[in-house]
């Protein structure tokens, strides 16, 4: 890297990324994920799955190679997990295994922080209870819910659908007794989770943190909300490129999870861990008091500037930008403007990458999958190609260009935003001695 590290926390612990996990519509291993990302869409075999569905059927075989005791615990717990939780747990297990951190760790010194969506109330969990409340005409009688309906609900239904369940199950399965939290802040959840985990390590409340996010816009209630918020296409029926164009860049509903292991850089080096990158800066900002379409862009620009300052980086140091690039055309225009505002003329020559056309909108899980994709760019030293569904006004998407400053494999900014006025940015670089 060409820049001099001036980390905001340089007197404190530096944070290394030492494990990756992914469960996505493009595969459930990092190898398969990268292979799919770098292949033309038409050549990617997705078997019988419908568009946006993760390569995961919820069987114990779908989890990574695991020690027998852990496999046994997961098998027993599967019935207590909804789909989002299963995806999050699978991605988390992969990241832990990949990092090899559990070969020698103190349970009290390792915690978890995840991003997740709202409680998932599934219609199918209520069908038998609703049937038990029908009158002679076959109409639903609300008055019968107390005496007839409640007892038809599964005893542990509430625990199955709470958003904090991925972190609880991961803690139980792996005996991780450190700080444990779940952030439910839509598409910026994962970035907030990374920032929180970094503070946890730097404050010495833990030595390592498993960080991830899981989400879906495929389940019924989440899809209703995503459609109302204009976050997914409402006339998308296949994942081919033509449909993307019809959607004018609006992502298709999808699901998925990603996870990374963060730990003290010094400790990671001492144990000989593979270091995929270093978290150099993290920031989030809001602009909710301002009406209008540009609120999210203003917030995002503020977050980018803060993250760069905390990382001690200049815009020209950044190798690639992983754009949010979701939402309405107005939101994408606001993001594009934010990149221009922060990067100035150098922004036009940056690699701006997006995976939306391939991954869709998996709610909070998308940010985590994007982070894994960009970390794989650092590892492989090249970007993945663009897709017909990728849109961000005025920026070259996923195309190689020559420019000064950091190379694509040196560093990146990962951007997330909520159109109505939230933005977040994580700065990641390769870890130099």
């Amino acid at each position: 890297m060409t820049f001099v590290l001036r980390n905001h926390y340089e007197q404190e612990r530096r944070i290394a990324i030492t494990g990756l996990g992914i469960v996505s519509p493009l595969g459930r291993t990092t190898g398969r994920f990268w292979e799919c990302l770098t292949s033309p869409p038409a050549t990617v075999e997705t078997a019988e799955r419908s568009p946006g569905t993760a390569d995961f059927e919820g069987r114990i075989e779908d989890f990574d190679e695991l020690p027998p005791a852990i496999k046994k615990t997961i098998r027993k717990s599967l019935k207590l997990m909804n789909r989002e939780t299963q995806l999050g747990v699978a991605a988390g297990q992969q990241a832990l295994l990949n990092s090899r951190i559990l070969e020698n760790y103190e349970p009290d010194r390792m915690g978890i922080c995840f991003g997740a969506g709202n409680v998932s109330v599934m219609p199918e969990d209520f069908q038998s209870a609703v049937e038990a409340c029908l009158d002679e005409e076959g109409d639903f009688e609300l008055d019968r819910w107390g005496p007839n309906g409640i007892s038809e609900i599964a005893p542990l239904w509430l625990l199955k659908c709470l958003p904090n369940m991925p972190t609880c199950h991961l803690a139980i399965i792996n005996d991780l007794r450190g700080p444990n939290n779940t952030i439910t802040q839509r598409d910026v959840s994962f970035a907030l989770a990374i920032a929180e985990a970094c503070r946890t390590i730097r404050s010495e409340d833990a030595d390592a943190m498993l960080v991830g996010a899981t989400g879906t816009t495929l389940n019924s209630i989440n899809l209703v909300h995503a459609r109302l918020e204009n976050e997914v296409s409402d006339h998308f029926d296949s994942a081919d490129s033509e449909s993307h164009d019809e959607c004018n860049g609006m992502p298709f509903p999808s699901e998925g999870a990603g996870a990374i292991v963060l730990e003290d850089l010094h400790a990671a080096r001492q144990r000989g861990a593979t270091i995929y990158g270093e978290v150099l800066g993290a920031a989030s900002a809001s602009c909710l008091g301002h009406d209008g379409a540009s609120a999210g862009g203003h917030a995002l620009a503020g977050a980018m500037r803060q993250a760069l300052r905390r990382a001690g980086l200049l815009p020209s140091d950044i190798g690639h930008i992983h754009a949010h690039a979701r939402g309405s055309a107005i939101t994408r225009a606001a993001e594009s403007q934010a990149i221009n505002d922060v990067f100035g003329s150098t922004g036009l020559s940056k690699h701006v990458v997006t995976t939306n056309g391939r991954l869709g909108n998996a709610g909070p899980g998308t940010g985590a999958m994007e982070m894994v994709a960009s970390l794989l760019v650092l590892e492989h030293g090249c970007v993945f190609p663009s897709d017909a569904g990728d849109h961000l006004d005025g920026h070259r998407l996923n195309r190689s260009v020559n420019h000064g400053g950091g190379a694509v494999w040196d560093s990146f900014l990962s951007l997330s935003m909520v159109g109505r006025g939230l933005g977040s940015c994580i700065a990641v670089g390769t870890s130099d001695e």
């Binding site: 926390y9 717990s77 207590l80 009290d108 978890i112 709202n118 409680v119 109330v121 219609p123 209520f126 069908q127 609703v130 049937e131 639903f140 609300l142 008055d143 819910w145 107390g146 409640i150 609900i153 599964a154 005893p155 542990l156 239904w157 509430l158 625990l159 709470l162 904090n164 369940m165 972190t167 609880c168 803690a171 139980i172 792996n174 991780l176 007794r177 700080p179 444990n180 939290n181 779940t182 952030i183 439910t184 802040q185 920032a195 929180e196 503070r199 010495e204 019924s220 459609r227 109302l228 989030s284 900002a285 809001s286 602009c287 909710l288 008091g289 917030a299 109505r420 006025g421 939230l422």
Partner: protein, 435 residues
């Protein structure tokens, strides 16, 4: 030197008071907020009692109720508590850099409108049409947009022009405790100067009552609402669902001093820990709670005999109260027998994700008044619960360092310590905690 986080504003909307003065008066009078459930018709439910917030609407903090009618109850409570705290801290008069002002709440899951949801389930079962398309036709879109846990934080950031980080966490019954602790961390790490933090929740709806009823967690003393929540009592049989909010303006010390803000207390300690045992049960010895309390003590650089009062999680379930007692004894050793411990859930019911924030408000009010609230309905001592639970009567105590402890389904635990503000606070020096 650690940046210090001080409290300059408190707001609360609870079943026993919809502002801090009413709330404090009720706490020390031992007023119990549990009664017959009225938010929806629960006549045919196995559980018919709750601790409801009554006589409240957002006009009391200057908002137009018509503009907030589509919001879930928790959003209304959060607006009340948030604007009260901002008013007490005089935020409107302060020239705060918006980019250094954030919001971090622990608001829980707002469930769908039960009537519309069950109707959609029924209609789609009968007609075999897709649930989503039908729901999009019959759900109220304005209300649906509000059914996200982060909406209170987003609304407050908008109303108060906070331009810094905005976050919401959900970690069951420790959510708001963690939100406050993490907000303090943001200040300590120089990521913000001012944070509005706390939590709000209401599970007084058919989904919430159904879920907790199926977990066998609720008291079924329908005939005796006032005696239903009995923390640490031998005859306890479960908790009563409550609701409410407490929010705080937490500020970096020098920032508060520069603008002449009144300092109501200092958050000196925060600790979090996981049982890593079972989703449904706490660890039999409460190991996560022990760690959370020990980490909070270490964070505050305090030893057990410096704590003057513990506000316990104290739900009134047979398991929680026994295990929490064990955890306090492990964390505090013999000193546990000399520290007064009370559960204000005996008056407030269980406000789930908001309970930690409300209980921190209890501690801050005790710092100011020098009076700690009682555990109501503590009539028959339980041999497994053998600490000083301050039964039925408030008590004058020299309050300097107070700890609040929370425990959650899923094994999450968190504790906060609030201290009387002292220039030479021991919390300014940080030592690494040794296991």
């Amino acid at each position: 030197m650690k940046r210090r986080a001080v409290v300059t504003g408190i707001g609360c909307v609870t079943p026993i008071g919809t502002n801090t003065r009413e709330f404090a008066d009720s706490l020390y009078a031992g007023r119990i907020g549990v009664g017959r459930l009225t938010v929806f018709d629960a006549e045919h439910y196995p559980v018919q009692i709750a601790a409801e917030v009554r006589n409240w609407d957002v006009s009391q903090v200057g908002l137009n109720p018509a503009q907030w009618q589509n919001c879930p109850r928790q959003t209304s409570f959060a607006m009340g508590a948030g604007l009260q705290a901002a008013h007490q801290a005089s935020l409107a008069d302060a020239r705060i850099d918006p980019s250094r002002f954030g919001v971090y709440l622990g608001c829980g899951e707002p469930f769908e409108d039960f009537t519309a949801f069950t109707r959609a389930v029924h209609d789609t079962q009968r007609s075999q049409q897709p649930f989503v398309e039908h729901a999009l036709r019959i759900f109220d879109p304005d209300a649906e947009r509000e059914y996200e846990p982060d909406m209170p934080a987003m609304h407050l950031a908008r109303l108060l022009h906070a331009g810094g980080p905005v976050a919401n966490c959900v970690s069951a019954c420790v959510s708001s405790t963690q939100a406050i602790g993490e907000a303090c961390r943001m200040i300590q790490f120089d990521e913000a100067d001012v944070m509005l933090c706390g939590g709000a929740h209401s599970t007084i709806n058919p989904f919430g009552v159904t879920g907790f009823q199926r977990l066998s967690a609720l008291s079924t003393r329908n005939d005796d609402p006032q005696g239903a929540v009995r923390p640490f009592d031998a005859d306890r049989d479960g908790f009563v669902i409550g609701e409410g909010a407490a929010l705080f303006v937490v500020e970096e010390l020098e920032h508060a001093r520069r603008r002449g803000a009144e300092i109501l207390g200092e958050i000196t300690g925060y600790g979090s820990g996981q049982d890593a045992y079972r989703v449904t049960d706490t660890h039999p010895e409460g190991r996560g709670a022990v760690k959370a309390m020990q980490r909070a003590l270490q964070d505050a650089n305090l030893v057990p005999d410096q704590i003057n009062y513990i506000n316990a999680h104290g739900t009134g379930t047979p398991l929680n109260d026994r295990v929490e007692t064990l955890a306090i004894k492990q964390a505090f050793g013999q000193q546990a027998y000399h520290i007064p411990v009370s559960s204000t859930k005996s008056m407030l019911g269980h406000a789930t994700t908001a309970c930690g924030a409300i209980e921190l408000a209890v501690c801050l009010l005790s710092l100011q008044s020098g009076v700690i609230p009682p555990t109501m309905n503590h009539d028959s001592p339980d041999p497994d619960c053998d600490l000083d639970y301050v039964p039925k009567q408030p008590r004058e105590v020299a309050c300097r360092h107070l700890l609040t402890n929370n425990v959650a389904f899923g094994g999450q635990n968190a504790a906060l310590i609030v201290s009387r503000f002292d220039e030479s606070s021991p919390a300014t020096v940080r030592v690494r905690w040794a296991a």
